[in-house]
Symmetry: C3
Subunit: 413 residues, 3 copies
């Protein structure tokens, strides 16, 4: 039987990609092939997804030596663990013997990594320390776990599956705002993984714009002001800015996101946007849902967007942080991990209520999944063609340019 070659042509994936790029109209959505061509998916895994950072969690999730988490991205799995020497490391979750997954759980604690298949054992620095019944001349040295890039940014732990541009510029530039919210001193109050039956880019594209907020997110749109007309938005924004300093914050915007990243670095960004009057935080009734973060002295009624690369976004309210981490599962399925973080030491039941904390973004995410899927279905039509983006989709337009630069390697040395 075998799998026959394409009708259309003998062109390699590269040649077809070039043709797609030649007719690309900036400011328009992408052609359907970017979502449906399996070769483009294979290319983008290698060039975009695996070469960029994925937020693995908060450093508080690796409290004790031996604490580990596994992180799934498409066909890959990483083990992120704190070594017995106290150092955080990441490894490919693949036994060097016959390739079995080693860590099967999402999280755990172990003083060595033992493959459940044949018992090969690795120290927490990745070295292979035990392998029964190997030939006498067997040298364990070259068979340590394969290390993966890992980066820590003021409490946030990132992993990549191939060389990813450094996060050092992000770490420097965002040190100040991350300090305000005490990012080093957060902890994870809730963590959920949402399955999105659509190409991963559609999920991120949806996150990149608030053009849909008015139509799709009644709850969000009653609290956040991102989708307001400029004049009205400026008014609300001014109200928040007048309260910033008293609340322990500063007026700051950092925009090195996407194609505006410093040369050779992962892009990043920071900005703060007002909530509607009456909302101190992103909660059902607008009232606090957890203790004030970091050294904040009060509520300014705003929410701060942080971004790290093309797939990791955080929203810092005054009393909690929500992180959104987008990953492909396969070409037509993505996952969104949402983490709700509160001040270290806050206790569930006493200082916060999980249902209240997660209400807004659980609801908003469920709504997003539905509209993303409608988008995916429509894209498969032969009658779909790229459409023009609105003025509220500029961040999306930029994200698409970043994606294309990564895909073609233009953004890399």
């Amino acid at each position: 039987m075998g799998r026959p070659i394409s009708i259309s042509s003998f062109a390699t994936a590269e040649a077809r990609l070039k043709a797609l790029l030649n007719r690309r109209r900036p400011g328009f959505s992408l052609e359907a092939d970017f979502y449906t061509d399996p070769d483009i998916y294979a290319l983008e895994l290698r060039r975009v997804v695996y070469r960029n950072w994925t937020l693995a969690g908060h450093v508080s999730e690796w409290r004790v030596p031996g604490d580990y988490r596994s992180v799934a991205v498409a066909a890959e799995s990483a083990i992120v663990l704190r070594g017995t020497d106290g150092r955080l490391r990441a490894f490919a979750n693949v036994c060097r013997h016959r390739g079995s997954r080693i860590c099967l759980d999402e999280a755990g604690r172990a003083d060595a990594l033992t493959c459940p298949y044949h018992g090969w054992r690795y120290a927490t620095d990745g070295q292979l320390t035990h392998a029964r019944d190997m030939p006498d001349d067997f040298d364990r040295t070259p068979y340590g776990l394969k290390p993966l890039p890992l980066a820590e940014v003021h409490g946030l732990v990132f992993v990549a599956f191939a060389d990813a541009p450094p996060l050092t510029a992000a770490r420097d530039a965002l040190a100040e705002p991350m300090r305000w919210f005490g990012f080093e001193d957060l902890e994870v109050a809730a963590r959920r993984r949402y399955a999105i039956p659509a190409n991963w880019k559609l999920a991120i594209e949806n996150y990149q714009e608030c053009y849909h907020c008015a139509t799709a997110h009644a709850e969000y749109a009653a609290r956040h002001t991102l989708m307001l007309a400029p004049r009205r938005r400026a008014r609300v924004q001014q109200g928040m800015q007048s309260r910033l300093v008293a609340a322990g914050l500063e007026d700051l915007a950092v925009d090195r996101i996407d194609t505006r990243a410093p040369a050779g670095q992962t892009g990043f960004g920071y900005s703060r946007t007002a909530l509607f009057d009456g909302y101190l935080t992103g909660s059902r009734d607008g009232k606090p849902v957890a203790p004030l973060l970091g050294k904040l002295a009060g509520y300014d009624g705003g929410a701060s967007d942080f971004s790290f690369g093309g797939c990791n976004f955080l929203l810092a309210y005054s009393d909690h942080v929500v992180a959104y981490v987008f990953t492909p599962v396969d070409q037509h399925n993505a996952a969104l991990s949402v983490l709700w973080l509160v001040k270290r030491g806050a206790e569930a039941g006493r200082d916060y209520d999980e249902a209240g904390l997660t209400w807004l973004w659980d609801r908003t995410t469920e709504q997003d999944i539905e509209i993303i899927c409608n988008n995916a279905r429509g894209l498969h039509s032969q009658h779909y063609e790229p459409g023009p983006l609105s003025t509220m989709e500029r961040a999306l337009a930029e994200w698409l340019e970043w994606y294309l630069a990564e895909l073609t390697g233009d953004g890399r040395a």
Copy 2:
């Protein structure tokens, strides 16, 4: 990883198709590649499925301006709606902004089509009337919904996803028999969509022959006489013919189906076949299940086959019409929409009982699904080779020739 090219050869799909056609033996079933080769599926969607009509429903389903239905065929979806100007139109169910599906329900009523994603709004004639926050120089004119071919044939509403041969010859030639049954004055009493886990052609091939009726359809075979030996069938047929005129019908057969379609037109056909004595209609006990259709004056004990193109078949008993609409879902899954139509104004509970009305064809369809799936499974064997068709499979043989002509483009200018 990427998806590697075929073992067999570097041949394009066209070249492989040509080789298949060169060794084709008319009067035999098709080679397995027609059902298993993904490139042939892609070709046949473009050349056969999308360029032919799909019955969307009966005009009574679009009673009021704003009434719409969505019609799914493979990866496509059409919106068929009655405009505020009273006119029926069809559009690709794809927003011109970023491609979202617009109509998510199978049916509804709306005075404008609003995309649930970002709220782009289209008038019922397809024009884009509202798109928030677009750049100042944005011209909405070119961004109307993409119109699709639509045709009305005496109450039946057809849609296509690309240029389809006109149904005008069918409309003229079948005006008379459609008038007898009052096709303009029917309404849908029941509508069911059956999932068939097999290639769409296998589902239609099965409908094209009654060679299997004796073995697979006990209920059908006790009522319909299609599978009788010629002599015995002629006898029953004569009985019915003697009752035709009194019942308000005429002796007529129209055979412009498949490759015998008038040049440049969609094929069509009409014939009437006797039921077994004692059966006035296709019901459990042979007794009427709904009021007499159109201007019929009585029961002749027959059932009329209408066909429109290669995928739409209707069976007109004296008191109800059953429509069979076959569509691909993907290469290995098809859907069959069955509509039961009764005389306009007939009331469920009073004039007909849905369970009684649908009994025969619900049962027969479930049996068909099973045998079609057995066929699909066997076809995947390397030991399958095309087999000779029986004298009772002539219509099937002709359908296959029509399909091949469409697939190779031979049937088109």
Copy 3:
């Protein structure tokens, strides 16, 4: 849309396979492409899977003329039946008319094979005897069911889907040990089919080594001694050997498995391994679970491995035999049929208890499925590379060489 060609190259599957073989390191696990490349899967079906024997069952399952069983292997299905002339035969389960499956059940009894689609009827020798309504000049002769290779080896019935190397050498060489256990006089007490969501080779590879037994199979490892260190194993082995003759057995080992098969023949093997002291058989408490097999005079506390080709393995305890038959379902799914056989005439409830008989290998198989799936997941990582096999994986290393020889055709004339 069509399915585009690979990113990597225009190379044919053969050329890619050659490249893989050139960099192959014997004594290491296989590269991931052997499990993930669809063209290699298509090649291996044709060259390895269909050209080798699959154990269909025990001859006692075809007791009476007309008894049949269907056997599924990947996309194929075989009918194995005892003819009215008493002879066992195998046929492709594909009607010569339009390709329907004929036998839909796993087992049954029939004096003719009638296709459920259109009623074509075949005699039990495969000849087409009835086909209604065929043209007058129709000659049934060439339309008999396609015969498949079948072989009987002292009560075991094997089927293949293409020419498979004879089992005659196996039959001769294993006549003696099969006689001890009365293979001709067994019957099937239980038969279960386990779904393994992994490539078929991973399932067999797992069966080829007991390196994982200590880590994955607590119950098995408390009974079987295969995974013991050589010195300790020799001691237990000697104990068993001292009891062999009294129990009616002999000290024998036959190793013509895999690449050591006699020229042009299917490979085979026999060996007996001690259970731990206190275990007379593979049962929960070590006590017998069924009557002694064949002419055995007592329990030696051992278990004998029989193998027939690359996919069929049997384990003969003194009171029952367990057969393991591995087959692909598709590239990423396999099936394992396990048969528990007891002495003919043994009665469930009186002579054996099914739950007790099946306990060990049902449990062990469930454990195997889990570790095989972990292996499959890890293999899909780009960070997987073939790893070195242990001294306890020599049989696995040999199986891999056999597989590669079959795949490249090196093992065949």
